[in-house]
Symmetry: C2
Subunit: 200 residues, 2 copies
């Protein structure tokens, strides 16, 4: 039986931190896992910046609420969820993802959690577990699922390699070149085609 | 982080086989896991009956397409999916569940698969794995989720006991009496209240 695991940012919705950087006028927040593969290092850097500039959770949620899924993503998800089971694996946080998940019709999302003070100040974050995308794929394979996974960057790699079939979606040229065994797709129509090809 | 696992039939939608029994005028198909805890035995009995009476998958899908979620189930799911992550664990089959999952907005469903001949005759079934509800709860706990599970009958028991919190929904009096540690709820408002109480 099939189950598709999808990365969220860059595949279904925009990169949240880049949007926050743009709307808050803080270009230093543009760094993503594409730039800094060490996720914990990246997060500590981000939270320090937020603190320094007094940017609270309500500010960020306002920005996220103004984002829309990527063009074609909603239609893609509508097709995929009628075709097979889907779980989104993301290194974002429940508090950030909610307004976007609502727009996508609440697919199941496994991710992390922010620690937030009553003032709205983000005091820290709780990674549910290290390398959670890969671990989720392994757990689902352990439940006898045939896993197809799609993602765009460094933090998806172990998930893509742990799946029965991994697919790259809009990777950088360097990332695609470094992982020549993974097929590359550039839009949701191509991703759909590639998924269809490997579903059992 | 929280994740809620729900049984499908009897909690969100009617018992599919009972509906099939009624609409096909075959009362022998009314047997469910409430009557026969051995699921494999029950399924072999059902498939033999279908064969004997020439009832094919398209017939059954027509019946299932005419069913609606239980009263209050859609509102309950809308609330729950905005509140936390949800996965449905059912011993039904993807081919049966689809028309009802569509009405519920395609929540993630882990279940089993029928083997169907090109004629529409159901030739067999493939259990993805034995005791899959419990195994799914254990796998999700292994991913550091705090699991709340709700179900109504025999095939839910190992899932309810493996969860951090198990909740009975409309159990028979005998089943409730046999499992006195599990709180009993009788409608979706009570189930919602019980879930809220134990979410972290």
């Amino acid at each position: 039986m099939n189950l598709v695991c999808l990365d969220l940012e860059g595949v279904l919705v925009p990169e949240i931190w880049i949007a926050v950087a743009e709307k808050t006028g803080r270009p230093e927040l543009r760094r993503t896992t594409r730039d800094e593969p060490d996720y914990d290092k990246l997060m500590r850097y981000r939270l320090e910046l937020l603190d320094k500039h007094g940017i609270t959770l309500p500010h960020i949620q306002e920005v996220i609420g103004s984002l829309r899924p990527l063009e074609g993503a909603l239609e893609f998800m509508t097709w995929l969820r009628a075709r097979t089971q889907v779980i989104i694996l993301s290194d974002t946080f429940e508090q950030f993802a909610a307004p976007l998940m609502k727009q996508l019709g609440w697919p199941t999302l496994l991710c992390h959690e922010l620690i937030v003070a009553p003032t709205g100040r983000i005091t820290g974050y709780q990674l549910r577990m290290a390398d959670q995308k890969r671990r989720a794929v392994e757990a689902l394979r352990g439940l006898n699922y045939h896993i197809v996974a799609a993602g765009d960057s460094h933090n998806d790699l172990s998930m893509l390699l742990a799946a029965n079939h991994g697919i790259l979606f809009r990777p950088t040229d360097a990332f695609a070149a470094a992982n020549p065994t993974l097929p590359v797709t550039r839009d949701h129509a191509a991703l759909r085609k590639e998924i269809e090809k490997v579903l059992k």
